[in-house]
């Protein structure tokens, strides 16, 4: 099959799976997940074939696979939509396909496929376990998710959106995929919509990202009207870029490229949960864990960064924009890392770490470290998916314990309820450890080290404040990761539930293993050439390949020992300090970092509530609806009512009644009545009298005529 055709086909199987499940197989759980996983597999297969074929092409950057069709007629021309696989797309496709497939498989186990239906499970609430009678005594086992099929439908649709976003050759279809993912994110966060927190989180996620989306839409419209095209290949030609850079925008001191870049970047801020639109991502952890892993760690939020990377040639045209991007990224990286220190929910820690790591990528982009950003994007997708799936496995194991003890008020996600899980869940522990070390940037072996090191090296070379910020953030990352590992897996079980935790089924552990391989191995493709000892052993393939996407291939950095040392120190130091501090901590009270402002995320939710949500609700209801519409406009309208009625009354009382009615109306009626009253006497009903009268008249008229004619 031609590669172009194949690219077109990549997003389709999950979409098809969505429709098949929704329309036909939603009652059959096994069939539904078979279809969904099968579809994910087909997409994975297609992606891998495309990826392999892309590797074989010489300088793919100049000659990408592309194909497009007429989509929208716009005046004289057509808007063309199509697919494009250049190096950036190829590597993104690679990690997206892997994570998506793994998470699809993981979901089968996570939602307890094959277990009995729950005793009291409700649709829209997490399953609560089922009682089974086995070997003569009753015990409680996990129960299957009531909306099992629906889950696979939704993630199918999501995968469609993600693949669409990746293979699009233009901003508009990219935006289509972008928003479809937003919808799925909304639906999946609110998957257990019976919980108020999930419901609110879903709305919050959708609305917050939508703020970014509308700006992005503006940016797209702006770009389209200036350049007349949205196709990446056409925008990123030298002439177009130069035009964009030379036309001033309506904002002072900013070229139109700068403004467009900013508008598009706001979209990324929303989607990738950067400051100040980061508030939705931690709450999004209300969704099922595979969702957190896929949407809110590996793919969708990466989609925001991917878009920013995609638009890098445009962003880099204006230095103001670049500084803003770098600032936002670096600030978010640090800021989110500090919050993560004080979180006790295993998934929330990961959520903040995701925000922080995305900030790393954005910061890298802002300082022009294109390849480093891509590199970190990929490695992060692998190890963060791994971490989330691991945490899901932990939670699952804990829920086992909860079901065993029957104490449902024990939160299976609170790390202070865990401890000592290393022996109970060995596969989970080792894979989680790999993920955690990758996240911390544990030297040499993990992929996270190589990508983070490259960012730090670039930052050191280009922008020192960013370097310092990121270094601190990296330190904190290592620290809270170790805190998490220590609290969760090491030491002794702190609760009975933790003591009764269980390793999870193979459907869940297999993806963990696969991903941990990728989380380690993927780093080796991007080892800088001049790195001591290891440099040159494996060629720095990534740099050459991904760098080829840009028109001007980025130069490889000279090796510098300062960033290398820094990253070694912060990673190992953070990990060591974390272990030391938390190995004996058994309750939140002993944790010195449970500071109010960290725990409450710097009160951002509260501030937004007071500054935006409450005033807007008030404005909408009171001002727009009650005062403006009901009061003012309808008030004026209602004045017309009494007004016309006044005129009407006036006419009636002073003209109609006296003149028309009394005089003409009643007058003529009265006259008729009066005359009738008198004349009725003539109506005797006696035929002879009538005859006489008729005769009199006849005679009179006859006489008159006779004499008149005579004379």
């Amino acid at each position: 099959m031609a590669t172009e055709t194949l690219i077109w086909l990549i997003p389709l199987p999950p979409a098809l799976a969505f429709f098949l499940i929704v329309l036909f197989t939603n009652r059959n759980k096994a069939l539904s997940h078979t279809i969904a996983v099968g579809a994910a597999f087909l997409s994975w297969l297609g992606s891998m074939i495309v990826f392999v074929r892309a590797l074989r092409v010489e300088s793919l950057g100049e000659n990408p696979f592309e194909s497009s069709v007429n989509w929208l007629p716009t005046g004289d021309t057509w808007f063309r939509a199509g697919v494009l696989v250049d190096p950036l797309t190829a590597v993104t496709l690679f990690f997206v396909a892997w994570t998506v497939l793994m998470i699809f498989i993981y979901s089968v186990g996570y939602h307890n496929f094959g277990q009995p239906a729950g005793d009291h499970d409700h649709k829209g609430l997490p399953p609560h376990g089922a009682t089974v009678d086995e070997h003569g005594h009753k015990h409680v086992v996990p129960s299957v998710e009531p909306l099992y099929s629906r889950f696979f439908a939704f993630i199918g649709l999501f995968a469609f959106g993600m693949f669409t976003l990746v293979v699009s050759d233009n901003l508009l279809t990219l935006f289509v995929g972008w928003e479809i993912m937003g919808l799925c994110s909304y639906l999946l966060i609110g998957f257990w919509y019976g919980k108020k927190s999930a419901r609110d989180a879903a709305v919050k996620a959708f609305m917050t990202t939508r703020i970014g989306d509308v700006f992005m839409l503006l940016g797209i419209a702006y770009l389209y009207s200036v350049t007349g095209t949205l196709s990446f290949r056409e925008i990123f030609t030298e002439t177009t870029l130069r035009t964009l850079a030379s036309i001033p925008s309506m904002v002072n001191g900013l070229s139109s490229a700068g403004l467009i870049g900013l508008l598009l970047f706001i979209g990324t801020i929303g989607k990738s949960a950067q400051f100040p639109l980061h508030v939705w991502l931690p709450d999004a952890m209300e969704g099922p864990t595979p969702v957190s892993a896929m949407i809110h760690a590996a793919t969708m939020v990466s989609g925001g960064v991917y878009t920013a990377i995609r638009m890098f040639p445009l962003l880099s045209l204006d230095s103001t924009t670049m500084s803003i991007v770098a600032f936002i990224g670096a600030f978010t990286a640090l800021f989110a890392a500090t919050i993560a220190l004080a979180q006790n929910d295993i998934k929330r820690v990961l959520a903040y770490s995701t925000i922080s790591q995305l900030g790393f990528m954005i910061a890298a982009l802002g300082i022009g470290a294109y390849v480093a950003a891509v590199f970190h994007l990929i490695t992060h997708a692998f190890f963060k998916a791994l971490l989330f799936l691991g945490s899901g496995s932990v939670i699952h194991g804990m829920e086992h314990g909860v079901l065993h003890t029957g104490k449902h008020d024990v939160d299976p996600q609170d790390m202070f309820n865990m401890g000592g899980l290393k022996n109970k869940m060995p596969i989970t522990f080792w894979t989680f450890l790999i993920g955690g070390f990758a996240l911390s940037g544990f030297p040499i072996v993990t992929a996270g080290f190589w990508s983070k090191d490259e960012i730090l090296a670039d930052a050191f070379a280009h922008n020192l404040p960013v370097f310092v910020t990121l270094a601190v953030a990296a330190f904190l990352t290592a620290f809270y990761t170790m805190r998490q590992i220590t609290l969760t897996f090491l030491g002794e079980p702190r609760t009975k539930e933790a003591a009764h935790a269980h390793e999870t089924p193979w459907t869940m552990t297999t993806p963990l293993v696969v991903l941990s391989v990728l989380a380690i191995g993927y780093g080796w493709i991007g080892i800088p050439e001049h790195f001591p000892l290891l440099g040159g052993l494996v060629p720095n393939w990534l740099h050459d390949f991904v760098g080829g996407t840009l028109a001007e291939h980025p130069e490889a950095l000279e090796f510098n020992v300062v960033p290398l040392l820094t990253s070694l120190v912060v990673a190992l130091g953070g990990l060591g300090l974390g272990y030391l501090m938390y190995r004996n901590v058994n309750s939140p009270a002993e944790d010195k970092l449970q500071l109010g402002f960290l725990k409450n995320k710097y009160y951002f939710d509260e501030i937004y509530d007071v500054v935006f949500i409450k005033p807007v609700t008030w404005f909408a209801d009171k001002v727009v609806y009650q005062i403006m519409d009901k009061g003012f406009i309808d008030g004026i309208l209602h004045l017309f009512g009494p007004g016309t009625q006044g005129i009407g009354d006036g006419i009636r009382n002073y003209f109609d009644l006296p003149v028309i009615n009394k005089f003409f109306g009643d007058g003529s009626a009265n006259a008729t009545y009066f005359s009738g009253e008198k004349l009725r006497l003539a109506q005797t009903g006696r035929i002879q009298q009538y005859l006489m009268l008729a005769l009199i008249l006849f005679l009179a008229i006859g006489a008159a005529l006779y004499f008149l004619i005579k004379v």
Binding site: Q688, L695, L699, Y706
Partner: protein, 169 residues
Amino acid sequence: MTVDQVIFLAVALLTLFAALRVVTTGNIVHAAFWLIAALFGVAVIFALLNASFLAVVQVVVYIGAIAMLFIFAVMLTRKEMRDRGPQLNPNWRFGALLAAVAFGGLLLIVNGWSGVTKTASAVPSDFDAVSALGNALVSPDAYVLPFEVASVLLVAALIGAVYVAFNQK
């Protein structure tokens, strides 16, 4: 005065007297009989006018059929043989006045008409009025249509009369 004139005057006066009795007599049965007399007088007048067919029809149809019908009707609509109370309206005088005025008016018109003094020419000897009348009544060129319409009218009237007078009980 010729014999004709004497006969005319006598018959006319008798007829008028009978007619007056018809409208003034208190007994309705007598009135019916006086009507027969009046109708007979008119038949004589027809004869005087050489309208022999009309005279015969007057006697046969009017006296023989219509007057008899009246007598039957009178007898059918009387509670008792004697009539009580006045037979004329309270305002009969006014009626009389009107009739008199009408008569006066008619006389006035007759008086003012130039042809009033016309005399009758002799009937041609070869003229057979009865056969001419018969031909005229059935000739398509003449009066067959009014004649037939009249017959239809008669049939309709008869059916209607039967229907109206039919005792539904």
